[in-house]
Structure formats: C-alpha cells, structure tokens
Amino acid sequence: MTYREAIRLALREEMNRDSSVFVMGEEVGLFDGSYKVTSGLMDEFGPDRVRDTPISEEAFVGAGVGAAMIGERPVVEIMTLNFLLVAMDQVINHAAKVGAMFGGEVRVPMVIRTPNGAGNQLTAQHSQSFDGWFAGTPGLKVIAPSNPRDARALLKAAIRDDDPVLFIENLPLYKQKGEVDTADDSVGEIGRAAVAREGSDLTMVSHSFATTRCLDVAERLESEHGYSVEVIDLRSLRPLDVETVSESVARTNRAVCVEEGWPTYGVTAELAARIQRACFDDLDAPVERVGMAEVPLPYAKSLEIEAMPNTDRIIAAAIATLEGAK
C-alpha cells in the first residue's frame, strides 16, 4: 500500500481502538483531506471525530493541547509544515512546555501530523523543512518515517504516546508504495533508527524522503563505482538514535548526512556534531552534509532541481568522502 494509505490505516485502527482519538484540521473531513490522507474517515467516524476546522492553526493546535490535557488524544493535521509557523507559539511555548513547566502534573498526549518537502514548484513559502527546529526542542518528540510500514507503526506509537509528537510526513512520499502486513497490528518503537541498507565503505544518514534518495544513491554507488554503502533511516529525530549511527560509522569510518532542509543549524549539523564526538578515532574523512541550497526555494524548475539535495549532489558528496575532495 502507499504511504498515504498506511497513515490512513493507522488512523482508522487507532480511532477504532480508542474513542478518545479524534482528527482535527483544515479540510480533513468533507474535502477528504488536502492530500487525501483522511479520505473516507468522516463518513466512517462522523464529523465529531473527523473535525473540519477553519483556517485558524493557532486556535486549533492550541485546542488540541487543551483537549489533550484532559485526556483526549487529538491528531491534528496541518496542511503543510509551512503553515505550522503561525501556530509555533502553541507548539513550542505551550505543547512542549506543559509537562516540565507544570511539574509533571499534567501531560499532552497529542499528535501533530504534517507533510513537508519540496519539488513541485511550490516556491519559497511552501517548500520548507524545519525538522531540526522542532527536534531541538525539549518536550517534543519528532518522528519522520520514510516508508509505509514504519509510517503506520510509528503513527500508532505516536497516538498512544503520552507526549506531544510532531509526525512529519512528506509530499513526494505519499504515493510511494511498500509492504505493509495488515494482519500485523504491532506498534512501532519511538527512538529507534533502522539500517535501511547494509554496507561497509560509507554510512549515509537520512530520514523521511532523504532516505529514498540515499537508497537510490547507494545503488548507483555500488553499480557504477563499486562501493558498498550503508543507509541509516533515522525514523525518529527526537529521541535521536545516535547509537545506531555511531555503530555504523565506527565500521565504515565515513559518513554523509542528508536532509531535505537547510543543513546550516539543521538535522545534519546535529548529526555531524554527534558523529565527530562519538566516532572521533574512527573517522577517515570529515563528515559531509547535503541539504537544500541555502536560498528561499526558487520557482523556476531548473533552479528548484539544482537547489534540492538531488542524487547528483549526494553522489558528489559521497565520492568526495570516499576518495577525498578533488
């Protein structure tokens, strides 16, 4: 099934299991979901549990926080991560603070689901990935799966978790297909990376759609250049599974970190810092990073392609790491 269908399945399963789970967001009901993730759910669960909201992110994200504080389990959909910016106060200064600031007396079991990603000429205001901002905030958990199986299992885990979870999806991933065992109703484990591909010459660390890119690159590096590349899929950004990353880099002695967002102060910046400290004696080359070009994303297709962490740029970074910069 597709990534989109896997998320829908997880929503349906959790809503059937627990009546305190409800979905809320713009166009989630009557419109069938802006990206059709919630398609059919309003017919199945009714307008109270699949609640259409006005365009009012600050209010309905905050309403999710409040409802969660008294035991509801809201799953709030934000049309794209870019629109979460107008609700940042509720995410960072409210949802993320409740547990600590109130001395552990009350919790916020809430999920915010939202896609990010670029590549459809949506231009500067609609093509951003701020994963690192949120993952740098104590009090939040941030999950960003790369395939349908993990999306289903980890969304179920996020919904059952007692803390606020930002569940980052990705526009190009929605149509991606993968094996999902519908009979296996198991819940994923938060804070565990996966080795998406085994290899011995280089470790590529990625999450979400960047993992798809890295798997493609790994194939090409093997078939065209004869290198054996390991790909780590982080799955969870906070908690971050540095153990799996550092164990891999200790074996391969080389690391390239890839993300869809801007690398400066980004997820890859954090990874590079962790890797150099955990694997200082193991590294045979500097840790390399690939991300979005550091510009507001331009509209022109030619510029957009060049700005994104495309396969050619990742391959160039990998070759430089493997062979030394030329």
């Binding site: 409800f22 109270d48 909201t53 006005p54 009012s56 600050e58 209010a59 309905f60 994200v61 905050g62 309403a63 999710g64 926080v65 409040g66 409802a67 969660a68 504080m69 008294i70 035991g71 509801e72 809201p74 106060d89 509720q90 200064n93 409210h94 409740v98 547990g99 600590a100 600031m101 109130f102 001395g103 552990g104 007396e105 009350v106 919790r107 079991p109 104590p138 009090g139 958990k141 007692d162 803390d163 938060i190 804070g191 565990r192 990376a193 969870s236 908690p239 971050l240 599974d241 540095v242 153990e243 799996t244 990353v245 810092a273 962790r274 890797i275 150099q276 400290r277 955990a278 694997c279």
Partner: protein, 358 residues
C-alpha cells in the same frame, strides 16, 4: 465606565459575603507578602501582583462549580487561591521549592492544580485562549457538563489568538466564558492607546457571541454575571465574554513602579473610592456583621500567609537529580536511551540521568 453594570441591591447574604471577603483579603495579604519576599530575594523571575482586582478574581471563580475548569494568564496568584489551592503550595512555588504546586518548575506565572481543575497559569499573552478553548472541546467530547473560565488581560485582546479562539468557541458552541480583566493597562499601555475598540466586550459581537461589561470592583455584579454566564455555558453550550473593569494598584510586575504611565492621583482615587475590599467591608457592616468577626477573618488571612511563608521557607529545593523529570512522560527513558553517544559535554548526565521519564 460606559456600559458597565453595577448592582444596586446586594444579592449576597452576610454569611456568604464574609466567606468571599475572606478570600479577597487572603489574596491582598498574599500579594503584599509576595512583594516583600520578592524584595528579600526569596522570589525571583517575574512576579505580577493583582492587588485591587480581588472582586473580579474572587467573584468569577465563585461562579465555577467543582467540575468546571479554570485557565488564567500569568497574574494568577489570586485565582489559584480563590480556587482553593493552599497558600502554602502557592508561596512554595513562588519560592521555587519542591513543595510548590508545580514543584518549583513553574514559578509565579505557572501555578496549577489539576485536582481542582485549575489548568494553569500561562505566560504568553493570549496563548492560554486556544488551550482553554480546547479544554472546552475536550469537556464536550467527554460529555461532561463542565464550563471553562478563561481569564485574560485587556492587553490580550489585540492578539490573533483572541479572535481565533472566540471564533472557534462560537463556531463549535463550546462552554467557555472568556473573562477579560480590564485593569486599564497592558503593562504601561492604556486600553485607549492599544485598542481601536476600547469597549472590549463589544468585540464578542463580531463572533455573534454574548458580551457584557461589568464593574469588576463590585463583587455582587461580578458574581451575578459569572454565575449566570457560566450556568448558561454549562447547560446551553453558549460561550460569552465578560469584561470586568478594575484597576491594578501595583506596577505591571514587582519590577515596575507603575508611575511612568499613570498619575499618582489616579491610583489614589481608585484606592480611596473604589477599593473592592473596602467596599465589601462597608457592605458587611451594613448587613450587620460585627466588626470583630470581620477583624477575625482579616487576622486569619494574615496568619494563613504567615504559615505559607513558613512552609515555603522550609520546603526543600528541588533535587538536581530530578531536573528532567516531567519533561517527558513516564516510560520515555527507554525511547531516549540511544541518544546518549556524542551528546554535548555534560548534557548526558543532566538530560539522561536526571529523571527523564523514569
């Protein structure tokens, strides 16, 4: 005070009035002592006092039932006390001690008491409105006959969160009453200098919501309005706005002398003519409550505050070993166990060994 409702005939009998008076005096004495303790450096951070606003605070909280919810901004000591949070726990929180209602993690602005359905004490102007709206949504989803009282200041009504929350509350028929404590100034900016529509209650109309302005220093008027509108919210799921016009005697916070933006005469005039506690004291005497009974209540409030300071002083500092407790839910330690390698110097011991989700 255009449009403000003031009661002519006191509706509250002497016994109930003495009880409410006691709560108002406790609030005043508590704030006076908090300022002393702040100046003695026992209290840090921001400390926003509500002296002068006791009728608005106590009158509105009195309209709440046990199963109703209370949410406030950061000028919240009086609200916590009126809701029944023990003064000891409030003062200990101000002192940053383990015995505080938020175990020393919140301080003056972030009081709460889940057992009494007081869901905070929030520090970002208007940020508590969406949260309170969500409490009302949750209460409806859970089929509770509960109303939410959400307090905010006059400065909060120019924030987007105010408009968004009123819209959602009206659109979804949520049982919530927004209490605007209009004490005339948002920090040092008067309502007239901040709001194009200074009759704040009228803004409810834009959302087809009922709004009314009351004399926030008239306990009877406050109690009547809060009881009526909270009842209506509870039984008919009708949201409302109450604008309680009152006055803050002290500065915005203890650090503000409160004289740069208003005259000493203005402050003195409110104290002399409109002090909510003096007004209640006069009414008690008029209703035949003996002077010594009133004095007894006043002594008891002073004694309660003395005991609160004593408790706060003797309550232990929170343990550094538990610094990260509460940040994540119990059980999260396992999720975070693989985050340790390469963590910033010193962070591993603080973040991962300090009670994280254990």
């Amino acid at each position: 005070m255009a449009g403000a409702v003031t009661t002519d005939e006191p509706s509250v009998g002497p016994v109930e009035r003495l009880s409410l008076y006691s709560s108002m005096v406790l609030s005043r004495e508590f704030e006076t002592e908090a300022e002393r303790q702040y100046k003695a450096a026992k209290i840090g951070g921001y400390c926003h006092l509500s002296s002068g606003q006791e009728a608005a605070t106590v009158g509105c909280v009195e309209g709440l039932g046990e199963d109703d919810y209370l949410v406030t901004g950061y000028r919240c000591h009086g609200f916590a006390l009126a809701r029944g949070v023990p003064p000891e726990e409030v003062m200990a929180e101000l002192f940053g001690r383990q015995g505080g209602c938020a175990h020393g993690r919140g301080g003056s602005m972030h009081l709460l008491d889940v057992d009494r359905n007081y869901y905070g004490g929030w520090g970002i102007v208007a940020g508590q409105l969406p949260v309170a709206t969500g409490l009302a949504l949750g209460a409806v989803r859970q089929d509770r006959r509960s109303a939410v009282l959400c307090e905010l200041g006059d400065g909060a009504v120019n924030m987007g969160a105010w408009h968004e929350s009123l819209n959602l509350a009206a659109l979804w028929d949520l049982p919530i009453v927004f209490l605007v404590v209009n004490n005339s100034y948002g920090m040092g900016t008067s309502v007239e200098r901040a709001s194009a529509e200074p009759e704040i209650y009228r803004r409810a109309e834009a959302h087809r919501m009922h709004g009314e302005r009351i004399d926030g220093n008239d306990l009877d008027a406050v109690l009547e309005a809060s009881t009526r509108l909270l009842d209506r919210a509870r039984s008919e799921r009708l949201p409302a706005v109450i604008e309680a016009v009152t006055y803050r005697y002290r500065g915005h916070s203890v650090a503000d002398a409160g004289i740069a933006y208003r005259s000493k005469e203005e402050v003195a005039s409110w104290k002399e003519h409109r002090d909510p506690i003096s007004l209640q004291r006069d009414l008690l005497l008029t209703q035949g409550v003996p002077e010594d009974e009133i004095a007894g209540v006043e002594r008891a409030a002073i004694e309660a505050v003395r005991r609160a300071v004593e408790f706060a002083d003797s309550s232990p500092e929170p343990s550094t070993d538990e610094m990260a407790s509460g940040v994540y839910s119990p059980g999260s330690a396992r999720q975070f166990e693989r985050m340790r390698p390469g963590s910033p110097f010193g962070e591993a011991s603080l973040t991962f060994d300090a009670g994280l989700g254990s």
